[in-house]
Symmetry: D2
Subunit: 335 residues, 4 copies
Amino acid sequence: MKTPVGIVGFRGYSGQELIRILSRHPRVEIVLLDHRSDSEQRPMPKNHEGPRRAAFSAEEVHRSGLAVVFLATPHEVAMEVAPGLLHAGAKVVDLSAAFRLREAPVHERWYKDAHTSVGLLREAAYGLPEFYREKIKPARLVANPGCYPTAANIAIAPLVEAGVVDLGAGIVCDAKSGVSGAGRKPSLKTSYCEANENFSAYSMLMHRHVPEVLQNSGIEESQFSFTAHLLPLNRGILETIYFRAKGVKSAAEIVELYEKRYAGEPFVRVFEAGKAPDLMHVQHTNFCDLGVTLDAATGRAVVVSAIDNLVKGAAGQAVQNMNLILGYPETEALL
Amino acid sequence: MKTPVGIVGFRGYSGQELIRILSRHPRVEIVLLDHRSDSEQRPMPKNHEGPRRAAFSAEEVHRSGLAVVFLATPHEVAMEVAPGLLHAGAKVVDLSAAFRLREAPVHERWYKDAHTSVGLLREAAYGLPEFYREKIKPARLVANPGCYPTAANIAIAPLVEAGVVDLGAGIVCDAKSGVSGAGRKPSLKTSYCEANENFSAYSMLMHRHVPEVLQNSGIEESQFSFTAHLLPLNRGILETIYFRAKGVKSAAEIVELYEKRYAGEPFVRVFEAGKAPDLMHVQHTNFCDLGVTLDAATGRAVVVSAIDNLVKGAAGQAVQNMNLILGYPETEALL
Amino acid sequence: MKTPVGIVGFRGYSGQELIRILSRHPRVEIVLLDHRSDSEQRPMPKNHEGPRRAAFSAEEVHRSGLAVVFLATPHEVAMEVAPGLLHAGAKVVDLSAAFRLREAPVHERWYKDAHTSVGLLREAAYGLPEFYREKIKPARLVANPGCYPTAANIAIAPLVEAGVVDLGAGIVCDAKSGVSGAGRKPSLKTSYCEANENFSAYSMLMHRHVPEVLQNSGIEESQFSFTAHLLPLNRGILETIYFRAKGVKSAAEIVELYEKRYAGEPFVRVFEAGKAPDLMHVQHTNFCDLGVTLDAATGRAVVVSAIDNLVKGAAGQAVQNMNLILGYPETEALL
Amino acid sequence: MKTPVGIVGFRGYSGQELIRILSRHPRVEIVLLDHRSDSEQRPMPKNHEGPRRAAFSAEEVHRSGLAVVFLATPHEVAMEVAPGLLHAGAKVVDLSAAFRLREAPVHERWYKDAHTSVGLLREAAYGLPEFYREKIKPARLVANPGCYPTAANIAIAPLVEAGVVDLGAGIVCDAKSGVSGAGRKPSLKTSYCEANENFSAYSMLMHRHVPEVLQNSGIEESQFSFTAHLLPLNRGILETIYFRAKGVKSAAEIVELYEKRYAGEPFVRVFEAGKAPDLMHVQHTNFCDLGVTLDAATGRAVVVSAIDNLVKGAAGQAVQNMNLILGYPETEALL
């Protein structure tokens, strides 16, 4: 018998991606929990049904015996509904920013709203398995990481940990994301003729994902310059990360460092020195690809980190976390 | 001294294109007439000014001595403001559908609203210079053609006129347009992730531009099957038109027919038999390109017609009409 | 133990798609057969291996015990290597055009080359399971259909069969394909700046896929006008098919006809009357989506048929055929 | 009477853009000089002629009295043909890299070939009018700047000059270009399905345009980390430039610095503090747009610089240089 799992916010891009991935999962059965009552805009085929739908309610969660509920909603909604879901007996994997920052004041500074579930904030496990696997497994509530921080932390944290970054010189992270990262709600900025054949920077030096990188890579805000850009493509994040290396003499040494750190990790791929990953080979996958270049004479170094923002940056990582919580093989439905 | 001309609806794509074209016109000066009071969303450079702006009013039109006012607004707005503009002494080139269909009942059937300026409907010249040049020159009000009908009429009307179409077998016009044809207002259908890497048919057999083709090419609705499609690109319309030819034995004969009909026309280009135009060579130009193929054995024929929907399909043709009205060289600012 | 299957031509887009789909198939193991010796252009991750590679040879096919070999090569190569593979004991699913047309003269007229395996031509099963399932199951050689004909035949054949098409008035099939349909070999026409933001018709009235539609839908060349177009997107085919209906009074009747014909078919989805499918909902799937519109007064009808050219139009259908040949569930790895 | 000017290399993207711009120039007449004899791939309209063509030769240059010849060829060709053109009496605007680097050893290090015209290398004026206007006016040979260096130098040079950059901390320039920057020759990397929906870094820390920035902005290689990326769009370059500011306390101060430096410059636009330019507002224009952000607490600063790589980054700047050489208004044909 399959384990029932729920999705709240199934109309957005992360929600749709959850449906796609979980439809291939041999051990779970999807229940779409209809939090809003709006009508679906897409014409549906008459002769093919999708997953079962139900109204969103604690009773439904209880009656259906949902083992895990995914929240692919705005963070305000997640903050509001998470306590009730936990009370109803489900575990929660929250794809929003509601529970990612450990300290309420930090959350409140960057998200400009008062946190209404400070207790859960402290309890939540940060859902980056490559760093917090053992905390995720027994967690009731997992805060699925932001898309930009996933690519950034996987690239930066091992370097800081190993002491090969000259932090005094600072780290620059120039980040580019496809348009699905902005969500499905129509806006001028993400309308076709404004985003197509266009490219622009936004949230220069003050993107809300910055504190997630600081918190998990162990660096200070003054050491980290982050700017986001909007790429004219549907999905994918590529970050070009610049720093001064210390204590290493070649890109190959950093490649080796990554290979050791990520030995046995199913979703981190490391390229040989001097080669850079691109987006097309991570799209529709749960991989994070890393490539390194270094100028030995001056220590100037570049790491390129690439993921699919809807998979490793959202729904895929959420399913990876669900697999850990439910004791399934971590890669199930993800390779 | 330059002649002042006004633009109402300058924030939409047709309005922006009017600004671009008229900025290069040596004989006119632009006044942007601010019909709505909303704020501009685009960051503006501090050290470069754009065209002069003024509030939209009859007094302003009069005081500025605007010779021509372009309406790049929804047709409901055009219907409402055109009488006052004419009264204030300006000539009007209306890019909307308000005055394109000669008969009010036809307008009302396709646009589902009561026409409030039936007198002007009868007076308006249809602004397709290749067919109505002499009516346009002295007109007070020019109804600038729709984008799809411009490409369709230029291709079809000469063939029907010359009697080389077997009308009993019908004409199929399979039309594809870039997303700017849907306007600048955000919507789910035209948001980036929905339109990009996607392609779809819409208004199958019942697009509102159909009666403009019937009216100007002299065919019956029962003889004309038209379906529109949304192309994942910013600008351009390409129509593939299928019919059974009669009285001609080769594509070259139809090419010759077009060449004669459009001899001296600055904006219609005809390709040699068997060659088809594409969008990239008409984008950002006022050209309409035509290509013909014919299977001699069976009479099956295909004409491909291509324009830039914002230029020959909207702003460029509007400037061509303005040039005719003001007695300027017809190609001024358009080559 | 998994069944070994081979792929020849694994660097092209259909070959890459075969790898993606078969990697998820629980019952098979991929062997890439290196027919050419050129180097791979893509940087590979150091710590993740792909499928096993082997030289292309009869010995290898025999030694590895390959149950099925997929040919994702040019048709000239397929024609050359298929006999040897069959001799070596493998069954062959050929994605090229080598064995699709039953009559050698028809092949030779459209492909301009002499067929070198006429015997196999007569033996091959045409791999459109919705029509030839029982012939495919025991076949040694399956000719996987062309991408355009797959979408066309699924839409047209049931209508002709049911007698609801006025064949005298002819059928128009206006077909549009993403750029991957042109293959991976660099050319000016498919280079980024030429195809992007562009749209063009090609092979007007004389595309090589036409005879595959005639052969399988039972219509005459004189009744069928087909023109192909190049869409600025990676993958997907949408065909807009126009005809005069007879004996039916509404789109709903045709929808019902399709629903009956395709009852139980896992990969054909039918939309309610008046709704049209688009590409984004078939991309990366093996579905063929159908939508119908009809003008009751005149009988003018439109069917829109959409597939992913690399999946139902190539690799997905090839795996569907492999599943039939090997007795696996037909949808394995395809939902 | 119009002044005749020649274009060598008119089939490439820069050459095509030169034709488009010069076609609108009221004082010049284009002669296309056919250096290669290959056939044109584009179908041409029968009834519209393009510019005059002639064989490429010193005699033709002399006979036609070409005042200026544009070289839009590979740099090897430019190096070879420039001396003869000068000898034949034409002035030369070279869009290639042949004469951009003042020192032959620097050229040879980065371009890996021996320079065959070292004398001309020293004579050539670097064609960035905002910095070298008075040297360009009387020059016989103008080295039109590279696309990346144009955007970089306009942003960086005034800051270094004013002493507001902490050079010890280094400058990071993360540069992104549309695909036309890679030229028109087909290749796998620039073929549609490889570049579309994709994004990748290339020439990390070692792009050949680096020395042009060092030479003209007065910085050392060890202080400058530059990485190029390929954007999935046709045209445009956007560079995100990170540095530590010294001696300034706000973005507004840097904005003011730029406004003073570029007062009277027709093609440099400066945005208000905190606002960033995008590509859509510079495409098809000769503008370079600049936007600045600064974190006052730490001095971390970002400048975004945007141009159209085919206009300000190539053909538009070349025409600007021609206007200076021939004594025409500098903005002629460029606004």
